[in-house]
């Protein structure tokens, strides 16, 4: 405050606010913990879902989302608290980096801060807390890596691991009852990629109708388009030309052109020239001798008719992603010029069979027996679009985790095993450390243990008893014990087949501790005056 007794001059802008010291810290803790509490009920196999209802005018008002996915929930929330925003940010990063564990990361960061707040109340300086957390994090990470195991990528064990991981990921989602079915489906899809991590090749088609059980993996490639009328509906041994070219009258791109004529004859002449130009292009295409022509852009009636007359099946308006997939699957090159028919063998894609199929009420085009067999399609069925969207997100999570596992290969036991192990490691370390940091290391252990605790609570079990029993089991040297969420007991994870990907756990641990550290270091929050928005 001012020593002289004058009113302190206003330094910041009118609506800007500044909170210092305890007030700033309180604000961060409250915000971060609130966010963590919000998503924590979705954690684990017995976690609940959330309904997200958008605000704002228009039709979107009615479009609600039902989800269990942490990143989706957090992304759609509008929060003002800056610390809460940091938590949302790490959840998003987790989603981009590994695809799963988005709830865990936010909850872990929240729990760390909850423990941190208690330490601050005990008058321990934030820097000491951070110093302790840093030691704890390293210890936890080391233990996590130590307990992970690795199997050869081609072995049956690795395949089993993948199925188990997929099952674990899916068990917290809507489709938990059919998780075995979907786990197999996802693993098969990922293994087709043969180590490549390009998720684009796995196409997910959502069609309302039927039940979730009716979903299936199609080893061919399905394009959500229709074959133009008047063409063959079934082509065997297809030679496919994939193009991204204008098949309308193909306007001249040279800048500033304009047609100016002085008689009707000339108009007719130019019209003829236009037609000739189109025909010319079609002729060039025909030289490649394709049996199927797929174009990203629209095709005018005239060239379409010309192509159909030559017995070529025409598919127009394929979207860009679809095109890339078709090209990748059939081994075709995406053409935009057609002056080198001698390269036809290289540029044309090939597949054994193209046919129009009906899924539910919709007509689709299926390419099967493709040259490169990497691409595949997962067709999802379900009673409503909300269910389909949620299944889509779940499958996406599972696919991401599987791809990460294929890259990283290391796995750990699930069911809270890794968190309990890390917590135990931290507690052992805390006994060796001198100084106040030890409190923070213990706090880190408690925060880690909160994850299995919350999973228990969400399942309606007695978490205090279960977690204590869990500790004892671990102490006995039972390395693969974990929570059995069907019976509410401590069981063997190797018997239950609950595994998780190391990379996901690693990333969650590192991101959460980094974020908690970041928030802990803040002792001053300056909020600038909000930008004035003109109503349009």
């Amino acid at each position: 405050m001012d020593i002289v007794g004058n009113v302190l001059p206003q330094v910041l802008k009118d609506e800007a606010t500044e909170d210092k010291g305890e007030m700033a810290r309180l604000q961060s803790f409250v915000g971060a913990i609130a966010v963590a509490d919000l998503v924590k009920t979705t954690l684990g196999p017995k976690g609940m879902d959330k309904i997200l209802k958008p605000t704002g005018p228009g039709q979107e008002m009615t479009h609600i989302t039902v989800t269990n996915d942490g990143a989706t929930i957090l992304k759609s929330m509008y929060v003002e608290n800056p610390a809460a925003k940091i938590l949302i940010e790490i959840s998003k990063t987790q989603d981009e980096e590994v695809g799963d564990g988005t709830t865990t990361v936010a909850v872990l960061a929240g729990e760390l801060l909850r423990e941190g707040e208690k330490l601050i109340q005990k008058r321990i300086h934030p820097q000491h807390v951070i110093a302790g957390w840093r030691i704890a994090r390293d210890v936890a990470l080391k233990r996590l890596r130590d307990i992970s195991s690795e199997n050869d990528i081609n072995s049956q064990e690795f395949h089993d691991d993948l199925v188990k991981i997929a099952r674990t990921t899916l068990s917290s989602k809507l489709i938990t009852s059919d998780r075995d079915y979907f786990a197999d489906l996802c693993v098969n899809a990922v293994l087709r990629l043969k180590g490549s991590s390009n998720l684009d090749y796995i196409q997910i088609i959502k069609l309302p109708g039927g039940t979730i059980r009716d979903s299936y993996l199609d080893d061919g490639f399905i394009l959500k388009k229709q074959i133009t009328i008047g063409c063959k509906r079934r082509i065997e041994n297809a030679k496919i030309l994939v193009a991204n070219t204008a098949m309308d009258y193909d306007k001249i791109k040279i800048y500033g052109t304009k047609v100016k004529v002085n008689s009707m004859d000339k108009v007719a002449e130019i019209e003829a020239a236009e037609k000739e130009k189109m025909k010319h292009k079609v002729d060039k295409i025909l030289k490649y001798q394709p049996t199927v022509f797929v174009n990203r852009q629209l095709i005018y009636n005239y060239p379409e008719q010309l192509l159909a007359d030559s017995g070529i099946t025409v598919i127009e308006h394929a979207d860009f992603e679809g095109m890339e997939r078709v090209a990748a699957a059939t081994g075709a090159e995406i053409l935009s010029t057609f002056d080198a028919p001698e390269r036809a063998a290289q540029v044309l894609g090939h597949c054994d069979l193209i046919e129009e199929i009906m899924i539910g009420e919709e007509k689709m085009i299926k390419f099967s027996g493709c040259k490169k067999n990497e691409a595949c399609t997962i067709v999802l069925r379900g009673a409503s679009t909300h269910i389909l969207d949620e299944v889509d997100r779940s499958i996406h999570d599972a696919l991401c985790v599987l791809i990460t596992t294929v890259k990283n290969k290391r796995v750990v036991w699930g069911g809270g095993n890794s968190e309990m192990q890390m917590a135990a490691a931290c507690e052992e370390e805390a006994k060796k450390v001198q100084g106040k940091q030890a409190f923070a290391i213990e706090a880190f252990a408690r925060a880690l243990r909160q994850i299995p605790t919350i999973i228990c609570d969400n399942g309606g079990y007695d978490s205090a008893e279960l977690i204590q029993n869990f500790k004892v089991e671990l102490q006995k040297g039972n390395q693969n014990c974990g929570l059995n969420m069907t019976d509410g007991t401590i069981g063997s994870m190797s018997e239950l087949g609950v595994k998780e990907c190391l990379r996901v756990k690693e990333q969650a641990l590192m991101a959460a501790s980094e974020a908690a550290e970041l928030i802990m270091r803040v002792d001053d929050i300056v909020k600038c005056a909000p930008r004035k928005r003109e109503r349009a």
């Binding site: 004058n6 330094v11 910041l12 800007a16 020239a273 974020a515 600038c528």
Partner: protein, 535 residues
Amino acid sequence: MSLAFDDYGRPYIILRDQGQKKRMKGLEAYKSNILAAKAVANTLSSSLGPKGMDKMLVSPDGDVSVTNDGATIVEKMEIQHPTAKLLVELSQSQDAEIGDGTTGVVVLAGKLLEQALTLLDKGIHPLKISDGFDRACDVAIKHLETISEEIDIQANEHEALIQAACTALGSKVVSKRKRELGKIAVTAVLDVADLARRDVNLDLIKIQTKTGGSVEDTRLISGILIDKDMSHPQMPKEVKEAKICLLTCPFEPPKPKTKHNINISSAEDYKKLYLQEQQYFVDMVKLVKDSGANIALCQWGFDDEANHLLLQNELPAVRWVSGTDVELIAMATGARIIPRFQEITPEKLGKAGSVKEVQFGTSNERMLVIENCQCTKAVTILIRGGSQMIVDEAKRSIHDAICVIRNLIKDNRIVYGGGSAELACAIQVLQYADEVSSVEQYAIRSFADALEGIPCCLADNCGLNPITSVAQAKARQLQESNPRIGIDCMELGTTDMKEQRIYETLSSKKQQIQLATQVVKMILKIDDVIAPDDY
């Protein structure tokens, strides 16, 4: 508001719209200015030193950033008070000139103003105060030079540079990995440094951020990383022995800038124009291909047809490369930037060992790495971290470290940190004060007090008792005539900063004291503030 009167005693108005303006003058103006500037300095003072805290800043659009960097904090606070703004500029000029010590300079200015306030209360004229500060500043700078030490930057695998970088990184959120990051920064700077001329062009170090992973995953790439991918999905993902053609013209039909019309009046014209158009693309690709290039980087876009022709001619290409990247690539690969297709010649191509596409995470984001460039004088530091806020802060921290290393390469004299240099100067200034027989003596003595404020503030932030620890350090400096005694912030058990190896560059310290003194002098000279009333 003051009024003037004419010969007949009628009041008249001097300022335009006088009624709507606010005016402060005399002592009131001094005090208000000083208090405003001090408020800013106070906010920053808790960020000083290795145990300093961070600030969370929410922008007008609601974006959050968390930082420890003084220049960034004051910039993002959006300060509106005119005198407080001077401190913002002070911090920014330190950032522009030195790159590090942006917090320290503001805190020092704050301490000086605090002292000025008590001197004003004693009734000393502001100009006398500023004169005194000026003389004290000269003494302090001279003393800094005498206590500075030259270090051998080459010795022991650049150990001294790494230590200096660690000192700069020590106060940041990334301090846990300061050694690794320090090494990265040192290697990066040495890679691009021109040791003969003792100069470093910082443009050659590109800092690219990408969320995901953790700060540990930050690495140095001896090449350039650009956030782009190949223009056609089927182009090869890697080009070895790359010969790079760097274009700043689009693969599109020409668009003359003069407004014009091409009139088509017959079918012949129409056909001719069509052929002409086709020819353009063929020619363009041919020109590039003929020069022997095996990859084309272009600042502009491609037409679909051109794109395919490039693929067909097995010429991988990248479009929409940003202007700064184009320049960087040109410097690194020795390529000449080519503004017209006609001017492509084999000599103008740049060479690099490989150009390849790398992928991150699950979201299919790809970047291009250009490695082993012909003139390897460009490096990229790829920063990873758990969230956007972390990588942003890491970027600022690494920038600070890089600046420190550059300064050391330019001038290898250092002083020791931990407040020891400030204390040594304070002692010297105090001695000098006794020799001055005029009113300035008081100001000079106050200057010494202000300098002591820095170690005081450091000790405070570290949870030590500021007065006791500063008094102890000062006493030991005098007894042992050892200017390296400072505050033991990290509780390592020694107050000798040489043993703790806390290095700060002489240029940065000098600049801090000079800039802070200058700004304080400027603020002390203001005796009248006229501003619109709605402030």
